[in-house]
Structures are given as C-alpha cells and as structure tokens.
C-alpha cells in the first residue's frame, strides 16, 4: 500500500529542483527582468516585420539545390530591420560605422537608445524622420521613439 516516496527520494527531488534553478545563467534572468521597463514605458511594442539576417537564413533554407552558400559574416556586415505598429514604423539600416534609421511616416521624433545595462541616450530624428547614431551597439539594445505628437513606440531587444 505504501508507495509514498522515502525521505531519500524527497531529498533527491529537492536537490534536482535546486540544481535546475542554479544552472540558469544569471543574465537570462537579468535580461528578462530588465524588459519589464518596456511595460511601464507607456509605449506600444512595435513588432519586428523584417530582418535581413533572418530573411537570408530563410532564403538559404528554402534553396533545396543548395547551390548558394552565403556565410553568416557576409550577411551580418549589413543588416536591415523594420519594426511597425498599426500607425508608426521604424526602419533600421546597420552599417560598419553605425545605425541609420527612418521613422515612417516621416516626422520629427526623439529616439532613445536603451542598452541592456540600463543606460539610455537620446538621438533626435529630423522632420523627415531620419536619425543616426554611432557606433552600432555591440550589446543588446532597443529603441524607443516618441514623435513630436506624443506617440511612443518601442522595439524589442536587438542584437546585432
């Protein structure tokens, strides 16, 4: 009748549970906690609608003949990303020197570059919605864009 686990089994399960928790790399938790500020930011999260690096990978994956081989480094030297909400988009072009961006539809805005360590700096977008900053961040970052009209959107975290 008694199939209750022994003290040994209880201790083993507890040890397994603690081990699984301990093995989580610290930055997985830290990065995850850090994105909560996105919620309190009062900015709408823009969806990634285009990523040239993913596009390239998908193109290659669908090329059954396997004739075209492009290495990752070639793809990564220049990357385009596009984020959008129903009324506002951010297009990014990454070059070896920095990041250039375009707000769509074109309009003046303040773009804030947030890095994963919690720092942030502002970059103005001109009346044509154009902005740039350099160098391209090496660590994970995200952009928040608040237009002159007071509309704010934010991207998810970007790793170049």
């Amino acid at each position: 009748m008694d199939d209750r686990p022994t003290d040994e089994e209880i201790l083993t399960e507890l040890a397994d549970a603690l081990k699984a928790r301990r093995e989580v790399p610290g930055d997985i938790v830290e990065d995850g906690v850090a994105i909560f500020s996105l919620r309190t930011l009062d900015a709408e999260l823009a969806r990634l609608t285009y990523d040239s690096s993913r596009e390239a990978a998908d193109d290659l994956a669908s090329n059954d003949a396997g004739l075209l081989v492009v290495t990752r480094s070639e793809v990564a030297s220049l990357r385009s990303l596009a984020y959008s909400t129903h009324d506002l988009g951010i297009e990014l072009e990454v070059t070896s020197t920095g990041v250039m961006g375009q707000i769509v539809p074109p309009q003046a805005a303040t773009v804030t570059v947030h890095t994963a360590d919690g720092s942030a700096h502002d970059v103005p977008a001109d009346t044509l919605g154009w902005f740039a900053f350099r160098p391209a961040p090496r660590a994970r970052f995200r952009l928040t864009c608040c237009t002159a009209a007071g509309r704010c959107v934010t991207t998810s975290w970007i790793t170049l």
Binding site: I10, A17, R21, E23, D27, I35, F36, A57, N63, R140
Partner: protein, 195 residues
C-alpha cells in the same frame, strides 16, 4: 501561497499592476523550464539567451490576457519550443541537409518530451515553494545534506555549530515539513510520472 499555480496567478496579477518584483518572480520561476526546452533542442548558451529573451517579451505582451495561470507553464514551453525551432532551422544552408533528418526526428520526440519537461518543472516549482518557506538555518542544513558528494554529519555539525546528534532528527522533521506542504502533498497524491 499554497501551490505553484496559486503563486503564478498572484505574480501575474501583481506584475499586471506594474510590480517589477513580481515580474522578476515570474522570470525566475520559468527560467529553468525555458532552459530545459533549449537543452532539449541542444542549443548553446548564446542561442538559449536569445530564445529566453524572446519568451520573456512574448510573456510581457501576453500578461494582460492570461486567464488561467495553470496553463502558463505549457504556454511558456510551447513558446520556447517555437523559438528553439526557429533557431535550429535558421542556421543556414550548409548544414541543412543533415539537419532536416535530425530536426524531423527531434520534433517527433518533442511532442512528448515538452510535456514531460513541463511536468518536471512544475514538480520542481512545488518543491522550491516548500523549500523557500523554511527559515534560513533550516535551508542551510538541507543544502549541506544534499551536498554531492555527501558530507559527514560531523562536518555538517561543525559548519553549522550544531550538535551531531540533532542532525538526523532535524532532517526527518524538515523532510516531513516539505512533504506536508500543500504544493508537495498535492504532487505526492497524484500518480508519479515515470522518468
């Protein structure tokens, strides 16, 4: 909090109202599950971090629409799995032909094992809940008792400055406490999964 599901529900509720510590609690609560799914897909640490970040972002967006906290572990695992497959299949053409076979086999396996991972993570969450409710000295004693390789009672007694003779009885009492915790008791009554 009596069970992991109650705890999850309370954390979701508080995070919705803007409580960052509650959000951190959710991330900590589900990080082992996300990592377990990544491991099942044989992802390296860098890929696992990308997957985890994508899962947290999805969870943040999903926060206001969660109705059933009990379903959240399954949702987290499914989201993580989808992101893992994206990483695995997006690796480029050169390895594609070898990968296709492996990935297909993997996917077949995964429909069963993701459920197993969720069950195991929930068992772990129940044990952790019981463990975290113990006072610090008792947790410390349990940690030493779980040490691998095992420590002699005399060494444990010396480290904690307690009597050797008290360790055995205290161990029994603590494990009884864990066993009786509502979260663990509910698990132990349910049929045990085969490992």
């Amino acid at each position: 909090m009596s069970t992991p599901t109650d705890e999850t529900g309370a954390l979701v509720e508080r995070a919705r109202r803007g409580d960052e510590r509650a959000w951190a609690g959710l991330v900590e609560r589900f990080a082992p599950l996300v990592l377990a799914v990544c491991r099942r897909h044989q992802l390296g640490e860098a890929d696992a971090k990308d997957v985890a970040q994508a899962v947290w972002l999805a969870l943040l967006e999903h926060l206001d629409t969660i109705r059933e906290p009990a379903a959240l572990p399954g949702w987290i695992a499914t989201t993580a799995r989808r992101e893992c497959l994206h990483v695995v299949t997006g690796k480029g053409a050169r390895h594609r032909r070898e990968l296709v076979g492996e990935v297909a086999a993997d996917v077949a396996d995964l429909t069963e094992t993701v459920d197993d991972l969720v069950l195991r993570a929930e068992r772990h969450a129940a044990f952790l809940l019981a463990f975290e409710e113990l006072p610090p000295q008792q947790k410390e004693l349990l940690i030493l008792l779980m040490h691998d390789p095992p420590l002699a009672y005399v060494d444990i007694a010396e480290r904690l400055r307690i009597a050797v003779g008290s360790i055995g009885p205290t161990r029994g009492r603590l494990l009884h406490k864990i066993r009786r915790h509502p979260a663990v008791a509910a698990l132990l009554e349910a049929p045990r999964p085969t490992r």
